[in-house]
């Protein structure tokens, strides 16, 4: 079962000096639950970059015959491996494609290679230009869906719940307001950093 950042928000209002959850949601408070969700979302993105916690099998790209370049999903951080259908694609920098085949953009056939720098940033280019379509299967690190009120589940073990609590509290205590506490924010950031180190240890390094 994935963790729910809503549990973190419900868990931190007293540590931010509010007397109840309803008090946090009153108008005119120095921090809002929307902002807390935003800081948690930033923390999730940081986790996606800094560790390999969010690796997924992405099958969202359908390859068409005669089209070599495809836009990667917006959430893509990095791709570890790819297959066109069940045929493996070997990642190859564009300079090696050039060395391999001077007219590589015009070469057609069954795709055997993929390049992440042959096209613009955020695209994947297949070589040779495929003569048959299929699903592009990618093992890729991807951002989790945006965390907000009502869509706050993250595919992480529940033991990482406090990572989001501390990230949200760090953001709150660094916000310019009468309740700003830089020393507390520093401590909360260090607590979040400890969770990052644990995720790095358990799930591997990121980008």
């Amino acid at each position: 079962m994935s963790l729910d950042v809503a549990n973190s928000i419900a868990d931190i209002w007293f540590r931010l000096g509010f007397i109840s959850a309803a008090d946090l949601d009153d108008s005119g408070t120095w921090v809002t639950s929307t902002e807390l969700y935003e800081w948690a979302d930033e923390a999730a993105q940081k986790l996606a970059y800094a560790t390999g916690a969010f690796i997924t099998l992405d099958m969202s790209i359908t390859v068409s015959s005669g089209t070599a370049a495809y836009t990667l999903p917006a959430a893509n951080v990095f791709t570890l491996a790819a297959w066109l259908g069940s045929n493996p694609l070997r990642f190859t920098p564009v300079r090696e494609l050039q060395a391999l085949d001077a007219t590589w953009p015009a070469t057609s056939g069954a795709s055997t290679r993929a390049s992440l720098d042959a096209g613009s940033v955020g695209t994947i280019t297949l070589y040779p230009n495929p003569t048959s379509g299929g699903t592009l299967n990618q093992l890729a690190e991807e951002y989790p869906s945006m965390i907000a009120d009502g869509s706050s589940t993250v595919a992480l073990p529940s033991v990482f719940q406090d990572y989001f609590s501390y990230a949200a509290m760090a953001g709150a205590r660094l916000k310019e307001s009468d309740a700003r506490m830089e020393d507390m924010a520093q401590h909360f950031e260090e607590r979040a950093a400890l969770y990052l180190a644990i995720a790095d240890y358990l799930y591997g390094i990121g980008a």
């Binding site: 073990p157 990482f160 020393d183 607590r191 644990i198």
Partner: protein, 177 residues
């Protein structure tokens, strides 16, 4: 894996129903063995951990027995008992005090950091025991090495202040001259 085991943290060992171990591998190793490894339908022979929620299997047939590190059962009711040994239970109280005082800030919070330090010390001791046990059992993973983590920034928010539980040094007598 979180959809299968709701309390999942990480894999420790995978074996087939016959008892044969499914060996842990890296992605590079699997790609070297068989570039089309995800599509191999033979008996599971190797696995690779991929992130917090995904396991890749080389060979997809067979029933698997999975040993994994799990999250502790949540403490909800007054009568709930922590799953860790009783000698560590007081450290949960220490952590609770530290946590309750997080709203205060500054020098008041500094006083609570010694409780957090005690908790981390206990966690480190128990993790060392679990790590030795996991190594003895030949599990594929061992706990995070807390002792290798630089705690100075965690516990030194205001280094100039005296913690409230600092003990005086010496026996209290003045040596004769």
């Amino acid at each position: 894996m979180l959809g299968v085991f709701s309390d999942w943290i990480t894999v420790l060992r995978i074996s087939l129903s016959t008892g044969a171990q499914v060996r842990m591998s890296t992605l590079a190793q699997l790609s070297a063995i068989d570039p089309a490894w995800p599509f191999n339908s033979g008996a599971s022979a190797r696995y690779v951990g991929l992130g917090a929620d995904l396991i890749g299997l080389y060979g997809t047939s067979g029933t698997l027995t999975v040993v994994y590190a799990r999250a502790p059962v949540a403490l909800v009711d007054d009568t709930d008992v922590p799953e860790i040994p009783a000698e560590y239970h007081p450290l949960l109280v220490s952590y609770g005090i530290y946590r309750c005082r997080q709203g205060e800030g500054s020098s008041e919070f500094q006083k609570a950091l010694s409780y957090f330090s005690d908790f981390l010390d206990g966690a480190q001791v128990y993790a060392t025991y679990v790590r030795s046990r996991n190594r003895g059992t030949l599990y594929d993973h061992v706990p995070f090495e807390l002792e290798a983590y630089d705690r100075s920034k965690l516990l030194g928010a205001r280094p100039g202040l005296m913690p409230d539980r600092a003990q005086p040094k010496g026996d209290g007598t003045v040596p004769e001259k």
